[in-house]
């Protein structure tokens, strides 16, 4: 299969947001959190993107950047980028459309506190089991609270 052209991707993602060719074989769609499931469904059905490389998440200080990197037999990386507000970081899950995305969503939920609504098991995966709830260490404004116990071995405990 030959690589995807920017025009093909833009036609498939028509009405969802701007499409740009960020690098040789990387094409990025910037969309809104509400349309991410539509964009992913279109990528799956029309662009044959059956493989999620990863979901990258970053805290840029103002918002959370979430980028779904997808690829398929055409070997073109199709990225779907969304921005989430800091005060309400919530987005609907895509783990039912693309099951391998579920584990990335758990990881992002663990480290950045982004809620993926509809995820079947948004449990702890990276941090230790006794890590306090509501602390997200990869947020830029996170500071350890000296009065809290962050895991390890407690005094006197065996």
């Amino acid at each position: 299969m030959s690589p995807l052209a920017k025009g093909t991707v833009a036609a498939a993602f028509d009405g969802l947001g701007p499409v740009e060719q960020v690098r040789g074989n990387r094409i990025r769609l910037t969309t809104t959190p509400g349309q991410v499931r539509d964009a992913l469904t279109k990528a799956l059905r029309e662009l044959a993107c059956d493989h999620v490389i990863q979901i990258s998440a970053a805290d840029n200080g103002k918002t959370f950047d979430l980028i779904y990197h997808l690829t398929g037999p055409h070997r073109t990386v199709v990225a779907i980028a969304v921005e989430l507000p800091r005060d309400r970081p919530e987005i609907s899950t895509v783990s039912d459309l693309l099951p391998p995305a579920g584990i990335y969503e758990r990881q992002i939920h663990d480290l950045l506190g982004i809620v993926f609504a509809g995820h079947p098991g948004l449990k702890r995966i990276i941090l230790n089991e006794d890590w306090p709830e509501g602390e997200y260490p990869l947020r830029k404004d996170w500071k350890p609270d000296p009065s809290k116990f962050y895991g390890g071995v407690r005094e006197g405990a065996q």
Binding site: N128, G152, Q158
Partner: protein, 171 residues
């Protein structure tokens, strides 16, 4: 020391069995520790054998800083080892935290979790240095009679965390 005790002590010093525990290292120390077991360095001439289970081992080699997730598991592994037991913390991370010092997911030092007898510096330490460390650890076990134990016959107590160690990770 009675003859039987001396005999047991002699036998122990002739064949220290080690077990390697990765407590969150970057794997470089593990590679060097595995390289130590290869015929090139031939540690079996010192009777050093690597055992898969901590229940068979005399010396626990800890590679790396202790992550918060591994801390209780490391404590469990340590407690499964029979007395007398010795702990070697390996690498710059085991000795001081290394590049991971102060991060949110590591505890402040290895001896907060288990008592450490010997630190081997280096990033990673060469196999010769690991052999040197194990042999020096034997010297420290020669000084103490295993039958008497180092804490007066009983189990070695795990040190309580010192007040100075009650620091939280700093960004």
């Amino acid at each position: 020391m009675s003859l039987s005790q001396r005999l047991v002590n002699w036998a122990r010093l002739k064949s220290p069995w080690i077990t390697i525990f990765n407590s969150g290292a970057c794997n470089a120390c593990d590679i060097e520790a595995i390289a130590t077991l290869t015929p090139r360095f031939d540690i079996e001439r010192f009777g050093i054998l690597s055992k898969g289970s901590p229940r068979h081992a005399d010396i626990l080699i800890i590679t790396g800083p202790v992550t918060r997730k591994q801390a209780l598991r490391l404590r469990n592994v340590y407690e499964q080892m029979p007395e007398p037991k010795y702990v070697i913390a390996m690498g710059a991370c085991g000795a001081s935290g290394g590049v991971f010092k102060g991060l949110y997911h590591v505890v402040d030092s290895v001896d907060e979790v288990v008592p450490v007898d010997l630190y081997i510096g280096g990033c990673p330490p060469r196999p010769d240095e690991i052999i040197d460390g194990v042999v020096k650890c034997l010297r420290c076990s020669r000084r103490t009679s295993p039958a008497a134990g180092r804490s007066g016959g009983g189990r070695r107590s795990v040190p309580p965390r010192r007040p100075s160690q009650r620091r939280r990770p700093q960004r």
